[in-house]
Subunit: 526 residues, 2 copies
């Protein structure tokens, strides 16, 4: 299995990105003659994040990339491990590590089967790759549910992430969760996430208005007719705009206007204005209108404005009102529908407000509150041993929260006649799958007893992605995963999609799995 | 300035890890003929995190590494930018980008001076590199203040971080902030962070007790005398331990004991037991004692136990009591002081409890609550333009929180006769530095008027690290930065170090800077 040679793979392929105890346990297994014993781990989380009843599981692509590139032979990795393990460690152990790869590993998402030593070593990196990806995908999907389908949602949290890679993961998986794009250029380059971005306040404040542009002339959009001095044209429009708005023509900041003109000269077909560097109503808005109308005369249509402070909803309403009034006054009908983008620490509550009926906001940029998931900044993913040498294993701690479900399993989604999920069923891998139309007894988690269910449809939930180190089918593209996530969410019943106090989604055990749990709890051979 | 060729530099040196608007603004500046104009940005945050009155600024090394490696020429970077910028963009702009590096950039922490286009492009990556590093260093320093100097603090949050690099940053900067080490092997390999780690529950549950170890024999520590069957020896000790503790000899789980024996055979000089897989009192503790005493007979000293669930403080007290009693009973005095490590979702409140007088906990592992900084998962670092072409710039928004301090500045710490800080002074770079013993008038931030201060000592706070692209002095090592951070914290007065409702640390402006702010606010030439 060859390592991919793209830069992402190189960055991800750091086999020592792991907790030290994985290496000490590897030595323990090796020393006990158990390194090659066949084992199975499950990667899962115990509760849905943010108080919700659903989660998007994400990170498969990164996991597969990691597995394919996993090697300890290079770059002093084994030498480094030797430096932190006992000095009298048998050199044959390090030979074993040097020869390791994942060619005996099988991965249906989120089970990992293979030699005990190898699948143990994979714990930390796989948790690291799945946990945050799933958390932010779920967070993004919640924000999408709040925003509704029509608002454009942009992730712009790179600077608030946990370093470069946190930012890349955030941009990738917030897109998967339902955002429309990101400001993060690397996510565009490496993952194909649609990009968005225009200008910051620094661009505006860098202009005094005394600068002389090298070339203030702009040709009409249709490339016919003479070139026009855009700066002069904007000054002329400013007089008319100020007169209409009842503003003194000296009020709008000339440096801001010069910045808008400079930006418009660079992006005549994609002009946007950032309105709140000085004063939205007295400077940013009239300056934007002056430049947009000057462009409009040349046949170009400005595409948007952005607000980054103050009461975003209320300002959007006022700006739309001005757009309508100016549009009518100067017969520029396209101006009415110029897009209004807002940003500034938008959380679920503020997003609810911005998405309300009648809101004039079109595009919403979210940074901190999508990237850091402040309601719950981590998903408690765990990776637990469920089987060794074909025998089930169970962690029987005194803390019932931390007990695990033993044995190699299969998982099915049981659906009603209308296609909506009834519950997800976990059973032992050896059991026959449930059949549509057939009643079966199941043991819902968290309930006292069994109940009966008759699914109209049955869907297997686990797909085999890697078998004996080989990819079984092409991985879905990011866009395909995004579409799949949205489809899955659309099929979830509204009671589970509620963001506060939802009806818990039901997961049940089969008779046989329930019996195995009971037997192991009672101290039967485990 | 040559890029470093170590793997870290390769990972960090991704110039497209930036927001798209940096690239659109770059085109705007270039188009306006202003790309090479000399500009200065400041990187800062407006409030200390977590409701505290101090913060550790961190990330300098990563920033310098990024600057030294910053190039757009390679790997299709410019081609990718061309694909997201207007199709009719002047090819000369892309030529300009291809030739870019940071050879004209000067960086005293946290000012960045250089050509306008370049220093604008640096905004997002520098924010990304400083913001989380400072946040987690500060978080770690708070946890260290709570724990006191004697408890060992270990970071083990890799699996809870925002992807691989978030984990690496977390491990590195929690060490800088005062932790003693990390579980993250890559942080040890790349950054020299001390490592710690032993075994997980899966290692324990993978053993049934029926496995036959390839070699159960262990030589004495002193290498003299015959080899002994450690498993058999542990069984013999188990009888004596159970008798002493009043337990049936069948109660301790034999698989757990087999796991301990296997681990002890691999690590006879560093044996640790994880006690809570089944039952601490009835299984984990007696099994640990049996193996530790068997090792003890051979001259080895077990080094510790770990608890990962339940009431950690109370269990530690009980375990220490048993250690003392067994130590006395079997005349193994070293057993009294075997280290007790605890982990499991430890936050500031729980840490306060674990660090209380009389606590028997020695080592505390913290994952989620150090890595995700749940009290405040991001630091609002900003990067603001303060000067272009030697002229001060100021963002004069209607939101007073978002106004900036204009002009190129110097910063000094004014200290009292006892060496404790009085306040930090910001003044214009052109002003003469304050002198020890000389009274001066300053304008404290957040206060209405001026006050007078006479410092006994004056320390400049800004150090020049990169001048015209060249490193001015060697960067401190991580260990040196860690020592410097601890020294700085030790000099901070207790009222500022309080973690809840501390006295705010005072920052003041000089007369001239205050006057410049007033002039620009009043609409003077900016």
């Amino acid at each position: 299995m060859a390592a991919e040679q793209d830069p992402e793979a190189l960055a991800a392929a750091r086999p020592l990105l792991t907790d030290l105890y994985q290496a000490t346990m590897a030595l323990g297994y090796w020393n006990a003659g158990r390194a090659r014993e066949q084992a199975e781990f499950e990667l899962f989380f115990r509760g849905c994040p943010f108080g919700g009843a659903f989660a998007l599981a994400a990170g498969l692509r990164d996991c597969v990339r990691f597995l394919r590139a996993f090697r300890l032979q290079d770059a002093g990795n084994v030498q480094f491990l030797a430096s932190v393990l006992p000095p009298d460690t048998d050199p044959a152990f390090f030979e074993h590590l040097r020869a390791l790869d994942c060619s005996d590993v099988t991965v249906p998402l989120l089970q990992v089967c293979g030699p005990l030593l190898v699948v143990q070593l994979l714990e930390t990196p796989l948790l690291c790759l799945v946990s945050y990806a799933s958390l932010i995908a779920t967070n993004a999907s919640r924000l999408r549910l709040i925003a509704g389908p029509k608002k454009r949602l942009l992730e712009m949290g790179l600077r608030r992430a946990q370093g470069p890679d946190g930012g890349l993961t955030a941009s990738t998986y917030s897109y998967l969760g339902g955002f429309d794009g990101s400001s993060n250029v690397l996510a565009g380059q490496l993952r194909g996430v649609p990009l968005a971005g225009t200008l910051a306040h620094s661009f505006i404040t860098s202009f005094l208005g005394t600068e002389v542009p090298p070339d203030p002339m702009l040709a009409p959009a249709a490339s016919q007719g003479p070139r026009v001095d855009l700066a002069a044209c904007a000054e002329a429009w400013l007089d008319r705009v100020c007169a209409h708005l009842g503003l003194g023509v000296q009020e709008p900041h000339r440096g801001e206007r010069a910045a808008f003109v400079a930006y418009a000269l660079a992006f005549p077909r994609a002009f946007q204005g950032l309105l709140d560097t000085y004063s939205v109503q007295r400077s940013g808005l009239p300056n934007f209108l002056a430049v947009a109308l000057a462009l409009g005369e040349l046949g170009y249509r400005a595409v948007g404005v952005r607000l980054d402070s103050g009461d975003l909803l209320q300002q959007a309403q006022e700006i739309r009102r001005v757009f309508r009034s100016i549009s009518a006054q100067f017969q520029m009908p396209w101006l009415e529908s110029v897009s209004i983008t807002v940003s500034n620490n938008i959380d679920e509550e503020e997003l609810t407000r911005l998405a309300q009926e009648g809101s004039e906001v079109n595009v919403i940029g979210i940074g901190t509150n999508v990237v850091t998931c402040p309601r719950q900044p981590s998903l408690g993913c765990v990776y637990k041993l469920v089987s060794v040498g074909g025998q089930p294993r169970m962690k029987l701690t005194e803390d019932p929260e931390k007990q695990t479900l033993p044995g190699s399993k299969a998982a099915f989604r049981l659906l009603g006649a209308d296609g909506s999920p009834l519950l997800d069923l976990l059973q032992l891998a050896e059991e026959a799958p449930p059949r549509a139309g057939q009643e079966l007894r199941v043991w819902p988690r968290g309930a006292q007893g069994a109940c009966r269910v008759r699914p109209a449809h049955v869907e297997p939930l686990l797909r085999l992605w890697v078998q004996q180190g080989q990819l079984c089918e092409p991985l879905p593209s990011l866009a395909e995963s995004r579409a799949f996530a949205q489809l899955s969410l659309s099929r979830l019943s509204p009671e589970h999609k509620q963001l506060q106090q939802p009806a818990p989604y039901r997961v049940a055990l089969s008779d046989k799995l329930q019996a195995l749990v009971a037997r192991l709890r009672a101290g039967g051979s485990s």
